[in-house]
Symmetry: C2
Subunit: 418 residues, 2 copies
């Protein structure tokens, strides 16, 4: 699959997204090991804007009622749309920890602020890991000198590795586009592979750009970018307490400031950010817990977007559908049955189901061709599979990305805390 799958959000077309290490002018990043929960691996990441006064910042967070302490802190601190640094820890989520959890989140921000000689209020925090465990402050204090010392322009990669929990690979994506005669870079890192579902997957995403962009324009494209990426994916239908997307803009590219959301420059920037975020979203699904396949579920021809979205996610989250993909069993009945219980307006006699370009169900019954099972089976052996359910009721369409459901998903999640 190309880095950005065909059929992806229209805004992401014509943007070449690269996977792998990158730098973003105006930022340094780094990682260190605190030993807070994991042994022998970095578990703290720090991203710092080099500007004295920090940089423009925007964020999108979990909609879970039980939001983690660092999410509360970020929401509060992003009101001014500026930030100097983001401190991230992996292993302990600092969620469902009450007032004590919030106090500890503030305390870690203080520790970083002191080391960076900046105001504590300009430091954002994010955590991922086990819910209900207390964040440990001493390990953060002890690791801070090493963490600050590790800061480098190309430190995003080590940051991407440090924030991993059940992830098997670090996720990085970047793009460079021309905006107002200058080359602007957008780069992002992400973590997350379980508790992934829309309204923010269980994930942490930190993106940096050197574009000079007004806070309200950055807000707009951050929200739009989240909708077109992390709100289109699912691994297990669960929405985490800690989901965080933070986008930082240093302005170091020296482009004429983007202040008009509708300007060409704004659109070019928004497209690049959307493409990077979407590619990170696809990387998350491909690295879903136990995932062996990437599956693109499109519900087309729906009466409205909400119906298309519901049907696509009902199919994408069905354990029966997901285990069939794992077993490479082209059991299309499960897909049709999941759509049928989703509540979308649907006429059984009109709908048609396709695996790639192969129609397997139409007119309320199976397509009765001799070699159809064989052809469907071949498609199910692919590592990446496109499924398309055309309801033929209207014009709305939605694509959800999911992965299969394997033994390893159970293995990983039956023993996560031990």
């Amino acid at each position: 699959m190309t880095p950005v799958p065909a059929g992806a959000g229209k805004n992401t077309r014509n943007v070449m997204v690269n996977r792998g290490p990158f730098t973003v002018p105006g930022f340094v990043a780094g990682a260190a090991a605190s030993g807070m929960r994991y042994r022998g691996r970095p578990d703290l990441a720090l991203i710092v804007a080099e500007g004295e006064e920090g940089c423009t910042a925007s964020g999108v967070f979990t909609k879970n009622v039980f939001c983690a302490a660092p999410v509360e802190l970020c929401r509060e601190r992003l009101a001014g749309r500026r930030a100097k640094a983001v401190l991230v820890n992996a292993g302990i989520a600092n969620a469902c920890t009450g007032a004590e959890g919030l106090r500890r989140a503030r305390e870690t921000a203080c520790i970083a602020a002191e080391a960076l000689s900046c105001r504590a209020e300009s430091v954002l925090c994010a955590s991922t890991g086990v819910i209900g465990m207390d964040l440990l402050l001493e390990p953060v204090s002890e690791a801070m000198p090493a963490l600050v010392k590790a800061l480098r322009p190309d430190g995003w990669e080590s940051a991407a590795r440090a924030v991993m929990t059940t992830d098997t690979v670090p996720k990085m994506a970047w793009a460079a586009v021309e905006v107002g005669g200058k080359t602007v870079t957008v780069g992002g890192i992400a973590k997350g592979s379980g508790m992934i579902a829309p309204d923010m997957a269980t994930l942490l995403v930190f993106a940096g750009t050197d574009a000079d962009v007004a806070p309200e324009v950055l807000d707009h494209w951050t929200k739009a970018g989240a909708d077109g990426s992390f709100n289109c994916i699912t691994v297990d239908g669960d929405t985490s307490t800690n989901d965080t997307l933070i986008v930082l803009a240093s302005g170091a590219a020296g482009n004429p400031p983007i202040t008009d959301i509708a300007s060409d420059e704004s659109l070019a920037f928004g497209r690049a950010l959307a493409a990077v975020l979407r590619d990170l979203a696809v990387q998350l699904v491909m690295d879903g817990e136990g995932a062996t396949k990437l599956i693109e579920i499109t519900v087309a021809g729906a009466e409205n977007l909400e119906g298309a979205r519901n049907a696509a996610f009902t199919v994408a989250n069905s354990p029966l559908v997901k285990t069939a993909f794992f077993g490479e069993d082209a059991n299309w009945g499960r897909i049709v049955a999941a759509a049928g219980r989703s509540g979308v307006a649907l006429d059984p006699g009109r709908a048609a189901l396709y695996f790639e370009d192969l129609c397997v169900f139409r007119g309320g019954m199976p397509v009765r061709e001799n070699d159809i099972e064989e052809r469907a089976s071949r498609i199910f052996k692919q590592k990446e599979i496109r499924v398309r359910l055309d309801l033929r009721m209207g014009e709305a369409s939605f694509t959800a990305f999911t992965c299969d459901f394997s033994f390893d998903y159970v293995k990983i999640n039956a023993s996560y805390r031990s």
Copy 2:
């Protein structure tokens, strides 16, 4: 656990439900092997009302838009609320098979009607198995003489075995209660262990009673019984195309006909039917695909029933919660997080979470007692576990029954068709 768990529907109290073989005056049942899909085991079941004119009958069916051909047929034939027989096949669902599927369902009813010398319209059909496969008529024809010959008063057990697919045990339950000075029996058989979710689990349930009960009263208690049983359980959140509950009443008990829904006799009968159906529902969850544990999730103190129900099912369907139960890992954060994304009105600072009587989360934070993890772990080793989330927002409460998510669920479902 007692046959009917404490906290079950109020209507089921004081009814002693028995598991195991039973007979119901006025009915015979039996099974035979057609070889349609399974080899060397009975896969056809027949239940017949002995009365010349059949018996009173009521049904509740799947709400899936893609409903199977036999479901369509039953809906049509139950308009008159009478039936002579129910023919069931396992292995092929005859769902998503269009007009041809409906024709074949009618044809199997004809084959049975001919053998029983009754009108074809008085024969109901039910199917379970793979979606999209054509039902085979010849095997049904060939097996019909043996099937009719096998009919016996105690044939419900062999019928219960014949309708199994991924079930590991046959499910039977019965109760005897006094109604109007006569002993009335209610007995039922059920199958289903995957694609189980409310709005009818993926299941087939056939119950018989010798009560003399008016059609509209039977309808009332059949619907109420389904709500208090099969609409409270989930295995994987999927709703099948074939869900069918049929209740048959022969009147052989000779009780004064129950015609008034609000009468004591009606309530006594309704309670017995509800208790039998609820016990079958619990048996289904205990035999859920790959299940090793039965989990009772109660959301109490909700503002309204819909919120309580949504929250309970969101927790009960969460793969992260279910794998944690399989791993015997008392990871309460996943339960809280699932409730937090369910949409129920909830104040993080007020909610409290209990495993059995052990409070693990309260006031927005973990209960900080030294031995709490150890005590929670002991509870998680039980085969049957009660979870209670008290939202302290109102008076509404809902209990959902679910099972854990194991390697075997994936194994069973990755290779179901092969």
